[in-house]
């Protein structure tokens, strides 16, 4: 019998196979055993010892410069961890709604939320407490911007925006959607009634770029982002500020109920103390403050966000 025939009929052909000849059964058993061993190995490896509270997991909504925040968040985690003697871990998130969900599931213990996402998170995770806000968050503003081609000069009258192609930022952004929509309605403009429907650019920077291109003739964004982009000269001259909203409460740190249960009731107070104690004089503290664009952090309370919750319910963003 020629070797090829022998091989086809399953016979043994010496030297016909460059690989070690192990039978199919050996291969399958071996692979199975290997997989089982790996799975068993990591199953035991990741289990936490009882009594160990594990790390404090912090996160942030992807609002302003999320890539900087994510890549520099080590600063905050390191500083917090050294001062409070806690194991701190930063877990990045790319989506506003995902940040809220992860806070509910307990994957994130301490999150930097916007006003509206903070309300959503508190409603889903009962017992969560606001810890601190920045000095600028007590009186936060949004800026309506227009393309120069509209010929609009800065004014307080939002009614002239009604007939323009208009874009918000992210859907559940407080400064890029919720509060502007509220003030538009106060001014008699239907916040959903722009020609072709309003757009949702997805981020403050995308709003600036889309208004600069003229695709949308007007838009609205977080004043802090607008300031930082104008100061660094990044803004296309085709976009100009048109109006500024009245002040409202916005961003804050929110602590989840799971963390309090794990680390003890004093955690909230200690965190508030740490945040409010950050001073611009200390170089380490200054790095954290600069990352958040804050002069200092202040204590805050749930009552500050009652108006946001009411508006959110009115606009169908809180259910």
């Amino acid at each position: 019998m020629r070797p090829a025939r022998a091989a086809r009929s399953g016979g043994f052909v010496p030297g016909s196979d460059p690989l070690p000849t192990f039978s199919r059964r050996t291969l399958l058993t071996g692979t199975g055993a290997l997989l089982a061993a790996t799975l068993a190995g990591c199953g035991t490896g990741s289990a936490a010892a009882p009594g160990d509270p594990g790390p404090l997991r912090i996160g942030a909504i992807p609002d302003q410069d999320p890539e900087v925040l994510q890549r520099l968040f080590g600063t905050v985690a390191g500083s917090l961890s050294a001062d409070l003697d806690l194991d701190v871990e930063y877990r990045p998130v790319t989506d506003y709604a995902a940040a809220v969900s992860l806070f509910r599931t307990g994957d994130l213990d301490l999150v930097w939320f916007g006003g509206l996402t903070g309300v959503q998170a508190r409603l889903q995770a009962r017992g969560a407490v606001p810890i601190a806000q920045r000095d600028i968050d007590e009186e936060f503003h949004s800026v309506f911007v227009v393309n120069t081609a509209t010929g609009l000069a800065p004014a307080d009258d939002l009614a002239s925006l009604a007939d323009l192609r208009f874009t918000y930022g992210s859907e559940t952004s407080t400064s890029g959607r919720l509060m502007p929509a509220y003030y538009l309605r106060e001014a008699g403009v239907d916040p959903e009634g722009f020609p072709g429907g309003p757009g949702f650019s997805g981020s403050h920077d995308a709003t600036i770029a889309l208004v600069a291109s003229g695709t949308y003739q007007a838009g609205v964004l977080n004043e802090q982002v607008w300031r930082s982009r104008t100061e660094s000269g990044e803004v296309d001259p085709a976009v100009v500020a048109y109006a500024r909203t009245p002040a409202y409460h916005d961003y804050h740190w929110l602590l989840g109920p799971g963390a309090v249960a794990r680390f003890g009731g004093g955690l909230g107070g200690r965190l508030t103390g740490w945040f409010t104690g950050l001073s611009a004089g200390d170089p380490d503290d200054a790095a954290v403050l600069e990352l958040f664009g804050a002069g200092s952090f202040l204590p805050t309370e749930a009552a500050n966000y009652r108006q946001i919750e009411e508006i959110g319910r009115d606009l169908g963003l809180v259910s």
């Binding site: 290997l34 959503q120 309003p198 949702f200 889309l210 259910s319």
Partner: protein, 536 residues
């Protein structure tokens, strides 16, 4: 002799046009016309020339991607995460597919069709939702666990793999299987020894194809926060840091290229096995390499089966289930779902039409020519193939924003964004179809004096039209699922509703929208399948 003459000549096969094809062709044209009419393309200005500067910034960044050591380190780590998700997701999908193929195959049920129909219907649910939608749902149940990324790929891929595996098993020659049954073997043994061996090549080939697709899906999952390259891309995209976006796009393109080349080598070898040798070292090596990679990925992602059945997971499943059921049925929502579905169909038709036209136009350049060619033609071919690779490496949401700079808001930017991305995929597939087509009719026409255009029109096009249209119809279903991504930015479609419902945590509305999406994909799938049978 006379007997032969007296017999009536056999009727020559009448060359007549297949009426069904005409109906489908005209129907397709009508659908395209309707989609075009709704796009605003025919009724007013759609261009926004003032936005070219913004597009220029995007394009200019392509030649100076961010190459700082710190960022490259981040990208390298993310690439490993993406690979790990892709390998485990595809691996688990093949496992699910192999098990699911049993109840999904006709062989199992024999004449009892009800069980088969039920299984097939059941598979439509996991298949109808995009990987990213699965990811969003799983985040709500599993949190930040790496299982989110793995399962988001494995669930929809597993369902489609089960269907394909079942079809492969049903279609192989059944001589051996029948002989074994007749000799008294049980059905299990007969399947193992009579059906599996002849189907093994097809099964392996398809498994590797899934692995290629999983790489692209793993990137998309990053956009919803599961980590990896897509995640870094999403972060940089939020602040429009185009230099960083391009770095991740290049990393991604490289990864896709590797997966494409390796997967194609394996599939080619399966299609044309080397004669003689008993076990092909290339195939054995590829399978062992993937298994080793999977073992590494389990460790790298720290995947623990315990997380799937933990008390917290059960609690979160209960929370989501009780919040999401029953679905919302108020009239306003249903009306919105209906009009969004219509818009989605419009968008998908425009996208597929654009991609098909582009793919056909580029096919001549993409396909590697059969004969000897000059260096200019070869360089042009390589450039076109690289351009297509980049088109499919940039995710649709990025295309949507970039196109929105130069187009006015409406259905068109979203449709074109999907079209450009699909062109990247379809261009390659059509190119492969051209390479594999029979060149002889064209050559014969040319040899008998036909002009190159005439030879192409009469020699190549008739043979290619069927496969190309079939590919386009396959992609149509995929595009319908992808529209979920580009809905924002005023582009419309059902993605807008989904995103509004998820971001306001209106779970009953989420359920309604998801049901609508599944129904939409089922309908498109059925129409596509019918149209493909007419093409055969």
């Amino acid at each position: 002799m006379t007997a032969v003459l007296q017999r009536a000549a056999p009727p020559a096969p009448r060359l007549r046009r297949d009426r069904r094809r005409w109906v489908w062709g005209l129907g397709g044209l009508a659908l395209l016309g309707w989609a075009l009419a709704g796009s605003g393309l025919l009724s007013g200005p759609v261009l926004n020339p003032a936005g070219t500067g913004q597009v220029g910034r995007f394009l200019a960044a392509a030649v100076r991607p961010e190459l700082g050591a710190e960022f490259l380190r981040v990208v390298a780590g993310s690439t490993l995460v993406t690979v790990a998700y892709a390998v485990l997701g595809a691996g688990l999908a093949v496992l699910i597919g192999a098990l699911g193929a049993i109840p999904a195959s006709r062989t199992t049920w024999g004449r009892r069709r009800s069980g088969w129909l039920l299984t097939r219907g059941g598979l439509a649910l996991p298949r109808g939702l995009h990987e990213a939608v699965w990811g969003l749902l799983l985040v709500n149940v599993l949190g930040l666990d790496p299982w989110v990324g793995v399962l988001a790929i494995a669930v929809p891929y597993g369902a489609i793999t089960a269907k394909v595996f079942a079809d492969l098993l049903d279609e192989v020659p059944r001589g051996g299987y029948r002989a074994l049954l007749a000799a008294g073997a049980g059905r299990g043994a007969a399947t193992l020894y009579g059906l599996l061996p002849p189907a093994a090549g097809g099964l392996l080939s398809y498994s590797f194809y899934r692995l290629e697709c999983a790489v692209r899906s793993a990137v998309v999952l990053g956009l919803i926060g599961a980590g990896g390259l897509g995640y870094q891309l999403a972060l940089s995209f939020t602040s429009l840091r185009w230099e960083q976006v391009w770095t991740t796009v290049y990393a991604l393109a490289l990864l896709c290229l590797l997966a494409d080349v390796a997967g194609r080598a394996v599939r080619r070898r399966v299609a044309a096995p080397r004669p003689g040798s008993r076990r092909d070292p290339l195939l054995t090596g590829a399978v062992l390499a993937v298994l080793a990679l999977a073992g590494w990925a389990v460790g790298y992602l720290a995947l623990s089966p315990a997380a799937l059945v933990s008390a917290r997971t059960r609690e979160q499943v209960a929370y989501v289930a009780s919040a999401a059921w029953p679905p919302a049925t108020d009239g306003d929502l249903l009306a919105a779902v209906w009009s969004a579905s219509v818009e989605t169909v419009r968008m998908s038709v425009l996208a597929v039409a654009f991609a098909t036209a582009g793919a056909v136009a580029l096919a001549g350049l993409v396909a590697r020519p059969g004969g000897p060619t000059g260096p200019g033609r070869r360089a042009l071919g390589v450039l076109t193939r690289l351009a297509l690779l980049l088109l499919r490496a940039v995710p649709p949401p990025v295309w949507a924003l970039v196109l929105l700079f130069v187009l006015l808001p409406g259905v068109l930017p979203g449709a074109l964004a999907l079209g450009v991305y699909t062109l990247g995929v379809l261009g390659r597939l059509v190119g492969e179809a051209v390479e594999e087509a029979d060149r002889r009719p064209g050559d014969a026409l040319r040899a008998s004096g036909a002009s190159p255009v005439g030879a192409w029109l009469y020699g190549s096009v008739p043979a290619l039209a069927g496969p190309v249209l079939a590919l386009a119809l396959y992609r149509w279903e995929v595009v319908v699922r992808d529209t979920v991504f580009v809905g924002l930015l005023g582009a419309g479609g059902i993605g807008v509703l989904l995103s509004a419902a998820t971001s306001s945590f209106d779970w009953p509305a989420v359920t309604t929208v998801l049901i609508a999406i599944v129904l939409l994909t089922v309908v498109v799938d059925l129409v596509g399948a019918r149209a493909r049978t007419a093409l055969r």
